[in-house]
Symmetry: C2
């Protein structure tokens, strides 16, 4: 619609350039971690000069934050408005989508481990992210309990934490090429063993969904 | 018994020095990963000169291998000769012992993520380690099934992989200070939900043990 040379064209070009940089940063951070990566490596991969890169992203930490935010916005919008078993199903869907991208798996695995040191620029990001995940999955499990979809004896706090552990730990087996199933199948199995037969039907999109 | 200056004294001194180096490497690798660490950092931390360090360990990769082997020998000897639920209980005990050492947790978390790239010197180590873990836990679950200690419907291959995922993923929550329970409690909860009431009794060391 907008001409290539008008303000909309400029905006589109800026956006495209920004996305190219984020894609390059994604791949560089994902293979060597954040600490090991340099801005000039990212500029090279993005096919841009260093001044060009720092025009868009003045610091490496800011670039990292943008890469992480981009990815989360996606997942959050997919899960919005869901509760109980529906939210668990949403998590399976996000897992299915994410695992098609090996670089994403690698990025989150390497960064979340690297950022465990207090002074890493993504330490706060991962701490907040964990609190959000533990909290929303715990609530989904409590809602499932109210709906009669959760097995007796499941502790929602421990089960939410176990979900996060499976979800973070399993990608390592995929990256070492020893995983017996897909990430989506693993997350489905995990939730299934917490649910009643009714809950399991809802999880795989059975009649309760119609 | 042996004199300080005799061959036994020399041997003891060499052993002590070796252990000091391994402890220093442990701590340096654990805080920044392998790629980010330097031999001179390790030498400094161990209070030894660079020639002194390379006398014991000529390469950084060799030092890493020694650090990893040292730790595994310990766990393997603790689990030897166990089967079924007894082996699961052994894994809980190893978790309880390991989690008292934050540096160990940090080391394994950072290294296993960093070594997912094919050309990392510890890539083969972790691949072999995963195969061993998946295999021995699967066998323990199959044995528990024979003993009537495993719930119907548990798939030993998937459950073994889920165990490894929980065991690798949960330490991240501890390192970000958001874990609701200890690693030993988490592993106990995990196995509990796969076991029959009889199996659960064995897991916590009840009457079946006497």
């Amino acid at each position: 619609m907008a001409g290539r040379t008008g303000p909309r064209g400029e905006y589109a070009k800026t956006q495209r350039r920004r996305e190219e940089i984020l894609a390059a940063a994604f791949s560089v951070f994902g293979s060597g971690g954040f600490l090991n990566s340099t801005m000039s490596e990212i500029a090279k991969q993005a096919g841009i000069t260093m001044p060009g890169l720092t025009y868009y992203f003045p610091t490496k930490a800011g670039l990292l934050a943008a890469v992480l935010d981009e990815r989360d916005l996606d997942a959050v919008s997919h899960l919005e408005g869901r509760r109980g078993v529906e939210l668990m199903r949403g998590l399976v869907e996000v897992a299915a989508r994410d695992e098609s991208d090996d670089r994403l798996t690698q990025l989150f695995t390497v960064l979340s481990a690297e950022a465990t040191t207090q002074d890493h620029p993504a330490h706060e990001y991962f701490t907040v992210r964990y609190r959000l995940i533990l909290d929303s999955v715990r609530r989904a499990l409590e809602d499932a309990k109210e709906d009669g979809a959760l097995d007796e004896g499941v502790n929602p706090v421990i089960a939410a934490s176990m979900y996060a552990a499976v979800s973070d730990g399993f990608p390592l087996q995929r990256l070492y090429d020893v995983a017996p199933v897909s990430q989506a199948t693993m997350i489905t199995s995990f939730f299934s063993q917490l649910l009643t037969p009714l809950g399991r039907l809802q999880l795989v999109g059975g009649p309760a969904d119609a």
